[in-house]
Amino acid sequence: MTGAEFSEVDIDLLADYIGGALEGTPEESAVATLIAENPGWREAYERLGGGVALVRAELGRFEPEPMPSDLAARLDGMFSAPALTLVKGDAAAERPGSRRRWTTPIAIAAGFIAFVGFGADYLSGRNASHDDSASSVAGTSEQAAPAAGTTILSTGTDYTRSTLASGPPQPLAAGDNASASTFGENSVPNQSRTSAKDPALARLTASAALQECFEAIERENAGGPIGVLTADYARFDGVPALIVRFTAENGDWVWATGADCGTPVAGADAIDKVPVR
């Protein structure tokens, strides 16, 4: 049965009839009449009815499909209270033979406190003035020296190629609505500050996704293990971006990576990369 042998039969109409989609409509009785009086329709009805029964039986045999454990863990990390989110970085740091220099336990804890503060509030859709993620970022920047570990920022700064290597912005002194003037003397020039809570970067607020992003950068940089100094949830040329500053055997770099950083398809999703001198 391929359908070709039922050239005079409207297969969709017949399928609707078999599936009960015509119940209570004038077409229902019209199709019933065709089946009763037209041999071609009758044969198609009998054969298609049998085929549909077989299909339904086979579909009913599909096995349950539990969510993969890695995705379940990622979702747990995204939607759990902050204390649970801290585990990821520590586990990576303690892995025997780990090459990840960015997962120094103390530094990663300090970094992720800021990260979690940002991520949890971001996910909750809360107003920053209510539970100020910017101030937690500021506090963390003072605790975690860039050379000692990863500092997570969420400045929302709109970087350009010319400002990318100028260095991370100073911690914000005020709330989320602070103006560009709150950047200190070393702030990146000519930056317009936009909301740090860009939905496009939501995936990267999960610690596992962030680490996958770092690993993708390390692979694509091809300069040996990298030590991530800062990661800033920001923008690049107006596009949501994670700005990652790191050291490697091939020098110090700052990469602007897109929202798909760390995914198998996009890799590091690098938008731009400049050496830091």
Partner: protein, 226 residues
């Protein structure tokens, strides 16, 4: 198909708690339903990576927009709706931005890439053919069949999830099944000597045969409404 934990808080309670600031409530809600949400996304998209992204995007959206949930439907229906829409959006984006075909030509922009897990060995061949036929359906018909015939949702709930009329779901399922039945006949026609599996009586009414399948009309349902 609403699931309410008889011991713990209801889904609605958890969602309300999340809106009120309980940072664990949404995670608990996700843990309750994640397997079914995943199965719907995977079987609608057919690609594990894309399904994972769709589920994650959908749940983030639900997390952010929970306050907008008005309670017009069950929480699970609402979650499924967001996941299915995210899955269909991904399929549409794939169609709008076609990818370069793989060397074996296996990738279609509307159809799953065929990496769904293998079926049990006993009915492996039949199951494979069924999966191929399912993957070849228009996305709207596939989503309806996934919800009703595979996941077992009542037609009325599938209609709520997809935000269409009950008659539309019936039509999408009916036409999708018919397409699959025709495709099974065609595919089996190429596989001479393959014994039918499952319902033997029914299988006998679907003889293999040569010929080109009659092109069926597009994905628009006769009874599309709402």
């Amino acid at each position: 198909m609403n699931t309410v934990d008889s011991v713990g808080p209801s889904d609605a309670d958890l969602l309300r708690a999340h809106v009120d600031g309980d940072r664990d409530a949404f995670g608990e809600l996700v843990r309750r339903h994640r397997d079914r949400l995943w199965a719907v996304a995977l079987r609608t998209i057919g690609d594990r990576e894309e399904a994972a992204d769709a589920v994650q995007d959908a749940l983030l959206s639900a997390h952010r927009n929970a306050a907008r949930f008005r309670g017009d439907s069950a929480v699970t229906t609402w979650l499924h709706r967001i996941v299915v829409n995210a899955s269909l959006d991904r399929i549409r984006r794939r169609q709008a931005h076609p990818t370069v075909p793989l060397p074996d030509g296996s990738r279609s922009d509307d159809r799953p890439s065929g990496v769904e897990p293998a079926a049990p060995a006993a009915d492996h061949d039949t199951a494979l053919v069924v999966r191929q036929a399912l993957a070849a359906l228009p996305a709207d018909q596939r989503a309806a069949i996934v919800l009703v015939d595979i996941q077992g949702y009542p037609v009325a709930e599938a209609a709520e999830i997809l935000e269409v009329a009950v008659g539309t779901i019936k039509s999408r399922c009916a036409r999708g099944r018919a397409r699959m039945a025709l495709a099974l006949g065609d595919l089996r026609g190429r596989d001479h000597g393959h014994p039918p599996a499952g319902n033997q009586d029914a299988a006998e009414t679907v003889p293999s045969g040569p010929g080109t399948p009659q092109p069926l009309p597009g994905p628009h349902d006769r009874r599309d409404q709402k």
